[in-house]
Symmetry: C2
Subunit: 188 residues, 2 copies
DNA sequence: CAGACTTTACCGTCCGGACAGACGGGTATT
DNA sequence: AATACCCGTCTGTCCGGACGGTAAAGTCTG
C-alpha cells in the first residue's frame, strides 16, 4: 500500500477512535508507520492532509453515488433514490466523509470550500436533471443529509428499522408523485 | 451583565467569527473583558466552558421549542410542527447550539452526552406523545435536523424559498394524515 | 549519479492550567 | 463608629508540554 494512502487511512482511524482533537501530525505519522518527516514529504501541512482526506473520500462518495444511481431503474429520481439508499445504513465511505468534514470544520472552515462545491453539484443535479419536482428532490437530500449528520454527532440516531421506514416513506412519496405525473402526462 | 454570561457569549462569538480552532482560553477571556484567571474562576477548564455553553444553549432551545409547540393549534403533531417551524430560518439560538455542538465534538466527543440525552427526549416525545405516526414524527425530526446541520457546515444550504417549500411539504404530510386518521376514527 | 523517498534532530510558538495574591463589599466584634 | 476579618471575585504571571513545521543528512532504486 502506498505510503500516502496509509497516511490517509491512519488519519481517519485516528479521528474515529480518538477524536478530532487527537488528529496531530505525530499521531497520524506514528499510526501510518512513518516518521514525521516522512509524513510531511507527502502532505506539506496539516491543512494539506485534510484537503487530501476530503478529496479522496468525496471522490469515493461521488462515484459510488453515481454507480448506485445508474443501477436504479426509475424514470425519475434515480439520483434521489440513490442518495436515500446510500444512507440506509452508515457505510464506511459515508462515515469517513463525515469525520473528515468534522475535522475540516474544526481546523479551518475554508477547507470545506471544495466539499461545498460538490454538494452544490449534487444539489443542482437533483434539482434540474433528475426529473423530480424540485421540492421533493430537496426533501430527499435533506433527509439523506439529516440522517447522515445525526449519525455523525450521535444525536439520538434512529434504529435501523426506523431509518428504513422513513426512507421508504420519502422514496414512495417521490416515486408515487412521479408515477402520478406520468399518468397525467400520458393522458394529455 | 454577569461575567459568567459575558464569557459564554464571548465564546460563541469567537467560534462563529474565528472558528473552532480559535476557541482558546486567552481569546475568550480577552473578548469577555476578563483576565485568564478571572475566566478560570468561572469555568475551571476548557471542558467546563463547553459544558456550560451546551447547557445554556440547549436550555434555551428546549424552552423555545416548548413555547412554540404550546402556541400551535393542532390536535396532533404540535411538537413536530414546532420543530419544523423552528428551522424555517436559522435563529440565533439554533446557530449558537450548532456551533456549540461543533466545538464539543472537536474538543471531546464525550462532552455531548447530555446533549444527546436531550435529543433523545425530544425524539421520545415526538414518537409517543405527539399523536403522530411514528415514522412521520421521525421524518419531521430528520428534516429539521438535516436543514439545521446543513446550515452548520454550509453544505449547499437551500434558499429561504426552497426551505419553506420543503417544510410546508412535510408539515402538510403530517397534518393531512392526521386529519385522515381523525375521519377514520370518527367513522367507527 | 540522480531523484524519489525517508529519517533524525531540532526550533519557536501557543496553549491549558496553576498559583499567589489584590481588591472590595459585607459582617461581626469591640 | 472604628477595627479586624472573611470571602467571592478577579488579576497578572509563570510553567511544562505538545504541536506544527524546518532543515539537513541518509537510503534505496533505476
Amino acid at each position: 500500500m502506498l505510503t500516502r494512502d496509509r497516511i490517509l487511512q491512519a488519519a481517519t482511524e485516528v479521528i474515529k477512535q480518538e477524536g478530532v482533537s487527537s488528529l496531530t501530525l505525530d499521531k497520524v505519522a506514528a499510526r501510518a508507520g512513518v516518521s514525521k518527516g516522512g509524513f510531511l514529504y507527502h502532505f506539506g501541512s496539516k491543512d494539506a492532509l485534510i484537503i487530501g482526506l476530503l478529496n479522496q473520500v468525496m471522490g469515493v462518495l461521488d462515484t459510488e453515488l453515481n454507480v448506485l444511481a445508474d443501477g436504479i431503474d426509475a424514470r425519475q429520481g434515480a439520483f434521489a433514490l440513490a442518495y436515500l439508499e446510500y444512507v440506509q445504513e452508515p457505510t464506511k465511505a459515508a462515515t469517513d466523509t463525515a469525520v473528515s468534514i468534522l475535522a475540516a470544520a474544526a481546523v479551518d472552515d475554508d477547507l470545506l470550500d471544495s466539499t461545498r462545491a460538490t454538494f452544490q453539484r449534487w444539489q443542482d443535479r437533483l434539482r434540474h436533471d433528475d426529473g423530480l419536482d424540485e421540492t421533493e428532490a430537496l426533501l430527499a437530500r435533506v433527509v439523506g443529509d439529516g440522517l447522515w449528520l445525526i449519525d455523525l454527532f450521535g444525536l439520538a440516531p434512529p434504529t435501523a428499522d426506523e431509518r428504513r421506514k422513513v426512507l421508504d416513506l420519502v422514496s414512495n412519496l417521490i416515486t408515487d408523485h412521479g408515477a402520478a405525473r406520468d399518468l397525467a402526462d400520458s393522458a394529455e
